[in-house]
């Protein structure tokens, strides 16, 4: 697979480490959310056959975490964003 890194351009998937569903961005606040919310966050996934947003880490590159939008059936990649930008857009701060 080839991932079009938003800063570095097309890179072979071998340079990356895969983590999983980009819903891992949406971590609850441990001081307010309970075990149930963290359980959902950590274990429950939609597992779609089709478009999927997922986290990849450019370990043998610039260490960017990326959100890759990939079709799990065809492996077509339609969007690659810096995970930091996505996280900020979703309201994550400090």
């Amino acid at each position: 697979m080839i991932i079009h890194h938003p800063i570095l351009g097309p890179r072979d998937a071998q340079e990356f480490v895969y983590l999983g569903d980009a819903s891992l961005i949406d971590r609850p606040d441990g001081m307010t959310a309970g075990v149930e919310a963290f359980h959902d966050y950590l274990y429950n996934r939609t597992n779609p056959a089709g478009e999927h947003q997922e986290l990849w880490y450019h370990e043998q590159g610039d260490r960017s975490w990326l959100v890759v939008t990939r079709n799990t059936v065809t492996h077509e990649i339609t969007k690659v964003e810096l995970a930091r930008d996505v996280a900020r857009a979703r309201g994550r701060t400090k």
Binding site: M1, I2, A13, V17, L19, L24, I25, R27, P28, D29, G30, M31, A33, G34, V35, F38, H39, Y41, L42, L55, Y57, E59, R63, S64, W65, T74, H75, E76, I77, L82, A83, R84, A87, R88, R92, T93, K94
Partner: protein, 978 residues
């Protein structure tokens, strides 16, 4: 007689003679020959025995689809089993042996299987060798493996090298027949970067095997001229002997180049094969088509082959396979074989054409509406029995029979992304379907375009379409005959076996049996009968097999469908996939800064991840490892010992939010740590299990230095980047791994301070540098870092200098501190001392244990949010009776313990229900004078002082032990504060 079956013509170099042996007998051939063509030229048709019935077999093809003519090529470490004689290029001195026969190819004792064939039908093994279960491994499997099977594997090391390479192009063209050559020419002349790959050693594809004209020349000459033009273009890379074996995502293809397989041994410095990863913007599959047989009784005798291959041997290699030849066909292409062979002066006895009507061939006995219903000839074909249209049967003496059941487009690569081929009734074959690999176009016979003209046209047009060109070369004149075929999959007459898949000995009867037992889906048919498995992957047999199943079930062929094609297209040697990653080069080694010093001392090394660490450093007279390790421990605790701890991960963490960030990633608090101090940190995974531990020092207001375990150096850094970029993106915090930047040594023992005082420039007295102190110092003016931390339980420091000074620092400490008799200790002594102190390491940080299990539950702060804090409080992880870390020592000091052994109460039987936990780490403690261990024991914190048993049925261990605190040495910590 030498080359008795050689006839005129062909693309072989008759000016040179090559000598080779097959089963020990000498033969001759010429450059341009394959092993199969050379053997056939010498009148040798019998080349192998079949997989299951040990039937005598010869080649049925002239290409990579060959199911039968598999040989063991070369000898010693280079011996390669299951090599297809049809693609093995002849070289002088080639040695080949037949396989799957004993004692000889002509007389094979296992031929008895053929007489017992009733018992060996599909599903035989599944039904027969089920009982008793215990017989499988010891009796059935070894017997079956010896009786059935293919070639044997050498036990010697492969002396050849293999390599991997990477290529990029605008257009990859797979196959260099008329379609592929035209596609490459179109793209090449347009200035595009083109790779043209072909599995053959001569480009041209079927043009080399046919007598067709292309433009004003013979097809083979047009191909040679086109290759010459392409090779003059700097933007075109021609790759012969290169098989594209798989289509992967985003235009990536893998290809195997057989760099040296046509030579006796690879040239100096050259690999045997290269596995290429080809990145293409666009690709064209021009892989041609493969002829398929017709199933009829005894259709597997040597001398019976594909009609197109009979023709190829005559036209390309100047070989007549027999003296008296017949052709059995259901389509016009079979007729070509008869015509070409007749033109070559070969005696064509009859054309048995299953079709009715149409024009009769002039000058050849052309039997229409006729079928071949049986054959005879023990080790090779001697006659065929035919059934004429009027029902009369007749025996005809022939020694070769060409069979044509039609041609299957080579759709394989197009199907590697699960695209299902679709059935085209006009050519009675499957053609590429929808949703193939993006960017891949198909041209020529692979697309079902079976004439030479259509191949040239679709090759050019595919290149134009793929690359958005406006024009291409003019098309040369070429034959444009239509496909005329009336499908015939198997002959209904005859009661004997009619082979569909010759490699796996699958017959029409086996397909019937599969249907009878309701294995009617093609995927079930494949698994039940083994149709289409092994080295040829059913290239000749698959389509007939499913067509027979369609007939039996009354479904259409499209309804029946095909199995999925997967990479690789043809077999790939394991060595090619491994490339250079074997032996010493399997993975890179990382060497510590003290490696050279340790090697000088004759140290023993141990692999820790990619690192080579010193395990112990033997002194003269020490004959057993324990002597060295005990000495290192005792000397350290008595005076001072030095250990290279560079392998621990080191991460610099800076920024105004560095402290807040550490509070998030560690279970305990770091924002309150004073500048110039260190603290032990416990890191959890989000699920509440302990991830890693280490000490982190605050070097400045906004600057921390974290250490991780050796094993988790990479994953902790990855995790911290995740937290920083993804979870808390607004935090002002920067990270960099400095594991490679600093050489770090632990200096431990009562004289640690005295020794260090001799090398560092600053005052490091207890007042100036108290327990858990940290700071930047200098060593002879060189910048350095000092941490007063202890893993051994001794007064201890870790000192770090830039990596390139690590070796010098070690030698300096040993020289300047000589009066304290310093020793260097390895990972074994390190382990002994940490277990004596009850510190957790790999055995305890096992990915299953919580802080509570480790007796560190109070470290998890609930006053702040941190990774894993919430889920560490789950009910199942906070059980009062859960595992707790304990120390263990045997009641009898002579008794030995073994890690992995289990805790049992006295009198409890050794069953899982009574299991109390297990020993995680065990060492011999020279201070306590006995084995000691750490372990996880259920409710272990409440069992301190009790006696239990340690049981290990595998090691024959059952001994009484005392449960003690894990802090087995200096529990008050007086020594490390000294």
């Amino acid at each position: 007689m030498s080359q008795s079956h050689r006839i005129n013509g062909g693309q072989i170099d008759r000016s040179k003679t090559l000598h080779f042996t097959f089963d020990g007998l000498p033969y001759q051939g010429h450059p341009g020959d394959t092993l199969a063509s050379a053997l056939l030229a010498n009148g040798v048709r019998l080349m192998g025995r079949s997989f299951k019935y040990h039937r005598p077999r010869g080649p049925i093809s002239s290409g990579s689809e060959e199911p039968n003519a598999l040989v063991e090529l070369r000898t010693d470490g280079r011996q390669e089993p299951n090599t297809r004689a049809t693609v093995a290029e002849l070289y002088d001195g080639l040695t080949a042996n037949s396989q799957n026969r004993w004692p000889s190819l002509r007389f094979d004792a296992m031929g008895i299987n053929d007489k017992l064939s009733t018992f060996f039908a599909a599903g035989f093994y599944y039904k027969t060798f089920m009982w008793p279960k215990s017989f499988w491994e010891k009796l059935y499997e070894p017997i079956i493996r010896r009786a059935a099977g293919l070639g044997s594997v050498t036990r010697e090391e492969d002396p050849d090298g293999y390599d991997k390479g990477f290529l990029h192009c605008d257009l990859l063209v797979i196959g260099a027949g008329p379609a592929g050559l035209m596609a490459a020419l179109t793209a090449g002349r347009a200035g595009k970067r083109v790779i043209l790959a072909d599995e053959d050693f001569r480009m041209g594809g079927r043009l080399n095997a046919e007598t067709f004209a292309v433009g004003d020349s013979q097809g083979a000459d047009w191909a040679a001229a086109t290759v010459a033009e392409l090779s003059s273009l700097p933007n075109v890379r021609l790759m012969t002997r290169t098989t594209v074996v798989g289509a992967f995502d985003h235009g990536i293809y893998s290809a195997v180049e057989r760099v040296s397989d046509h030579l006796p041994t690879p040239a100096a410095g050259k690999p045997r094969q290269i596995l290429w990863r080809i990145y293409s913007a666009k690709a064209i599959l021009a892989g041609g088509a493969t002829e398929r047989p017709i199933a009829f009784e005894n259709n597997d005798r040597p001398g019976i082959m594909m009609a197109g291959s009979l023709r190829a041997y005559a036209n390309r290699w100047g070989v007549k396979v027999g003296e008296r030849i017949a052709v059995f066909t259901n389509n016009d292409d079979g007729i070509r074989t008869a015509q070409d062979l007749k033109a070559k002066g070969v005696d064509v006895v009859a054309v048995i054409d299953s079709r009715e009507g149409g024009d009769l061939l002039p000058g050849i006995r052309h039997l229409q509406g006729a079928e071949v219903i049986d054959t005879s000839g023990k080790l090779g074909l001697t006659s065929i029995t035919i059934r004429q249209a009027n029902g009369r049967s007749e025996s005809i003496a022939v020694d070769a029979l060409g069979v044509s059941g039609g041609w299957n487009p080579n759709v394989n690569i197009h199907s590697h992304h699960r695209s299902r081929p679709v059935y085209d009734a006009a050519i009675a074959a499957f053609v590429p379907g929808k949703d193939g690999p993006p960017g891949l176009l198909v041209a020529g016979a692979a697309a079902g375009q079976m004439s030479t003209h259509a191949a040239l046209r679709t090759g050019r047009d595919a290149a134009i379409a793929a690359l958005d060109l406006t024009t291409g070369p003019d098309l040369p004149q070429a034959e444009d005959a239509p496909v005329r075929i009336t499908p015939l999959w198997h002959v209904a007459y005859g009661k004997g076996r009619a082979w569909i898949d010759q490699q796996n000995d699958v017959t029409v009867k086996d397909v019937k049996l599969a249907k009878q037992e309701n294995f009617t889906s093609v995927e079930h048919l494949k698994r039940y009968t083994t149709l289409g498995m092994a080295t040829d992957q059913g290239k000749t047999g698959n389509v007939i097999g499913l067509a027979v199943m369609a007939e039996l079930t009354g479904r259409s062929i499209p309804e029946t469908g095909t199995t999925i094609y997967r990479p690789p297209y043809t077999p790939v040697a394991m060595g090619t996939l491994a490339g250079r990653s074997r032996g010493r080069e399997f993975k890179p080694f990382r060497l510590t800064p003290s490696h050279h010093w340790a090697k000088e001392q004759g140290a023993i090394f141990v692999e820790v991840g990619n690192w080579l660490r010193t395990q112990w450093v033997p002194k003269a007279g020490e004959t057993e490892w324990r002597q060295s390790v005990d000495r290192e421990v005792l000397a350290t605790r008595k005076s001072v010992g030095i250990c290279d701890v560079t392998t621990l991960g080191k991460i610099d963490i800076q920024g105004t939010d560095a402290g807040a960030f550490l509070d998030k990633v560690y279970a305990n608090t770091f924002s309150t740590l004073a500048v110039g101090k260190c603290r032990y940190g416990l890191m959890l995974r989000e699920d509440g299990i302990v991830f890693d531990d280490g000490t982190t020092a605050r070097m400045g207001e906004h600057e921390y230095v974290m250490t991780t375990t050796t094993a988790n150096a990479v994953t902790v850094f990855r995790h911290l980047e995740f937290c920083r970029q993804v979870l808390w993106p607004e935090m002002d915090v920067q990270l960099i791994s400095t594991t490679e930047a600093w050489a770090q040594f632990s200096v431990a023992g009562p004289n640690a301070r005295n020794l260090l005082a001799k090398v560092v420039d600053q005052d490091i007295s207890d007042t100036a540098f108290p327990y858990m102190g940290a700071g930047n110092i200098t060593v002879g003016g060189l910048r350095a870092r000092l941490f007063r931390i202890s893993f051994s339980g001794e007064l201890a420091y870790e000192i770090a200098v830039p990596t390139r000074y690590g070796d010098a620092l070690l030698r300096e400490m040993l020289a300047k501190g000589a009066e304290y008799d310093p020793i260097v200790y390895g990972t074994e002594a390190l382990g002994v001392m940490r277990i004596e102190k009850g510190h957790v390491a790999g055995g305890e940080l096992n990915g299953q244990s919580t802080a509570l299990n480790m007796g560190l539950g109070k470290m998890v702060s609930k006053k702040k949010d941190s990774i894993g804090m919430v889920l560490s409080q789950r009910e199942g992880l906070t059980d009062e009776t859960g595992y707790r870390l304990v120390g263990v020592k045997p009641v009898d000091p002579q008794a030995k313990l073994t890690a992995g052994s289990h805790f049992l109460e006295k009198g409890a039987g050794p069953v899982a229900a009574n299991d109390g936990g297990w020993l995680t780490s065990k060492v011999y403690s020279p201070h306590l004078g006995c084995d000691i261990a750490l372990g996880y024991l259920k409710a272990g914190d409440k069992k301190i002082g009790q006696r239990m048993r340690i049981v290990n049925l595998l090691a024959g261990l059952d001994t009484e032990v005392e449960i003690i605190s894990p802090h087995m040495f200096d529990p008050e910590g007086e020594r490390l504060r000294g």
